[in-house]
Symmetry: C2
Subunit: 145 residues, 2 copies
């Protein structure tokens, strides 16, 4: 039998992966990760393998993947063959939604900039922010989501 590396409690795991303790517990509840074992006092203990798993999850979350997508990616990681196409599909779909969201935000940004700049240019005839929000004809063409 191999000598086991020392296991770490949740706080150490948390610091190593830069993920909060309650979030790790939440991920356990969502079946994304599990402790290697528990101590006699029922405290979770994790190996290096779990740390790698958590870092994977964190990286994917930082990129905006949903927990459902991450669960799928974890399952795909374990498949010997043919998983790559599915992983690629998940990533490509997510990339597409990021692009869509980017376009939306660009449009919002332009309208907000216009709204804010009217005030800053010294318009004295009322409140341009509130008037712009009350003006629906101007915006109706511009954000159909």
């Amino acid at each position: 039998m191999e000598r086991k590396a020392p296991l770490m409690p949740i706080g150490r795991l948390s610091k190593a992966a830069n993920v909060k303790v309650p979030t790790i517990r939440y991920y356990e509840q969502q079946d994304l990760i599990a402790a290697t074992c528990r101590s006699e006092g029922n405290q979770r203990l994790y190996s290096e393998k779990e740390l790698q798993r958590l870092r994977f999850i964190k990286h994917a979350r930082d990129l905006g993947f949903s927990l459902d997508d991450i669960r799928d990616l974890i399952l795909l990681e374990r498949q010997p063959e043919g998983a790559c196409k599915s992983a690629h599909l998940i990533a490509a779909r997510h990339l597409q939604s990021v692009c869509i969201r980017l376009a939306q935000l660009e449009r919002l940004k332009h309208e907000l900039e216009r709204m804010v700049s009217l005030t800053e240019s010294g318009e004295d005839q009322g409140c341009s922010v509130i008037e712009a929000l009350a003006d629906h004809m101007k915006c109706e063409d511009e954000h159909h989501d």
Copy 2:
């Protein structure tokens, strides 16, 4: 006394403002809007003034303002003087958060594009999506939110 215009039930208001009925009820609960009165059968009835209010809320939501911010803007709309500066501050702050979010999404997009293009270029050495997610050194510098 002036002749009142006919009041409309919630479904008519919903269609006129393109906001769902449950969402209107939710906005009422959040103190953003209230029915003019109720019918004998306890159904909400709204005037043209409430329609204008709902359109204001919709427009602001479409621009990404939070309900809290919208509540503040509505209060500011009623103030005779000095409200403009506060409204401008709310809008400018929101514009800033949109810009920050845009920059984040650009960074995410680039990393996802790189991840996806490796697969598409015919790399045969494993799954580039999953490997990239497991590779934390590459990403750690790139998305510090």
